[in-house]
Assembly symmetry: C2
Homo-oligomer: 302 residues x 2
Amino acid sequence: LRLGIGDDAALVKARYGHDIILTTDMSIEGVHFTCRLHPPRSVGHRALARSLSDIAAMGGTPRYALVSLALARRTTRAWVEDFYRGVAALAKRFGVALVGGDTALVAGRTMVDVIVAGEVPCGRALRRSGARPGDQIYVSGRLGLSALGLKVLRGAALPARSTATEAVRMHLYPEPRCALGKYLSERRMASALMDISDGLSLDLARLCEASDVGACLEVERLPGPRLEDRRKSLALALEGGEDYQLLFTVPASKVRQVPSHFRGVPLSLIGRIEQRRGVRLAGPDGRLKPLPSGGWDYFRAS
Amino acid sequence: LRLGIGDDAALVKARYGHDIILTTDMSIEGVHFTCRLHPPRSVGHRALARSLSDIAAMGGTPRYALVSLALARRTTRAWVEDFYRGVAALAKRFGVALVGGDTALVAGRTMVDVIVAGEVPCGRALRRSGARPGDQIYVSGRLGLSALGLKVLRGAALPARSTATEAVRMHLYPEPRCALGKYLSERRMASALMDISDGLSLDLARLCEASDVGACLEVERLPGPRLEDRRKSLALALEGGEDYQLLFTVPASKVRQVPSHFRGVPLSLIGRIEQRRGVRLAGPDGRLKPLPSGGWDYFRAS
């Protein structure tokens, strides 16, 4: 970092032999968070986490962040301070320097745009487009926890206490998988990589489209929330967004190198890439059915 | 550019021997633009111009842009297309690649956040903090035209036709001074540089604060709009924001190197930096009076 907040722009050092990764994500009151359910610290955490996850999804290391904040007039100073505490705590833990941003008061709702610049050694960025037929499909962690956590916060679901606690924590304070992304890039293990922000079914369809392939998922292997109702767990795993887990494909020759866990987070083999387009779901009886790419699409949701 | 829109993030090349400049600026309906007065093409142009101007203000060259767009639900497809035409046309002219962004629909008003990454040779970035007592103060172009143009659009001012046309054009399609910023950096001519986005009086006060100095401006030299009422012209030159002209200081030893025009844009000597804090205004009779740092401050304006 050469020059941070206070001048016309931020001046940062580019590392030799590295490419720059740039990403930006908006968090909008009423769309991505509400003032009733989300404490300001969580709003700040989640806004930054979304962009950090994009860097993880390229196999890169986040370095700098800028925060643009359009504040609803009714916002209190305490809210803004707690919001920045949430941003700053996550930034610090990931070694990210806050170098700038923009602030304004608005008549409408609060809106945040977080920009993160990261780096990756030249030629080592992992893309969505590298999956090939025969590759195995993996995800990190559990899927659908964030969506379940939101239901719990809304009083619309009442799972066992340990599951509820975990789900709410994952919803309010999701953990970007930057170390895993970097690991997959450094070991040249993954043929394609992306983060799951809008739900597995939608994001896997995107990966398949970018790679010009199809996929088959095994229902029994999907790591959904621990619920008594297996159908609900499956729906959450497939459709629930905002988990920010990583979705990656591994060529068959490298599958044996994939550890079962990475820093305590399980890595689950959930299916395989196929030549035939579309995503299909294989049930416990081996029957195949097509999976509509649902997921959490803002435009559809509205 | 290695990878643009469509993956998790944009991957861009860092040039050896260069630092990266990062900047972000929001443009908010009702604050920075209105749908009644500003055609969508102008909204796009101005949103990008704000960030390009920040790069100019560091003496850098803009390279990549990302656009986050939170669209009010009532927005038409035609509006969005024209908005992007405005962004794309300006980006093309400045050699800037659009590499990503984010889009969402919102219940409230339209909001844009434009992020620009630029570059500058290591050690050559120009800051606000380099002004020293005895340095001469310059501005590019005419100040207050954008504010006058807004008045014309609102029907609140009726200057001579040529002035009105120029003012409206400068309001709707301001021209970032990137070539000038780069020129000042390359020739090592300026001791401090910034862009005037919030009005001369406010931005000069910021430059003085960053440099820990004061300034004295000569009223007669301020290049305001050509109006019959000299007082109105002066007020616009001092207080009118969004001109995106450059404000820079030049050590006395280099003043003779400053051209009268740069690519058709006049460079005006308007005063000098002093040790004594605060900004003062010297009238035609030589009388000095303190200049309150007014300018266009969003928080004050609201």
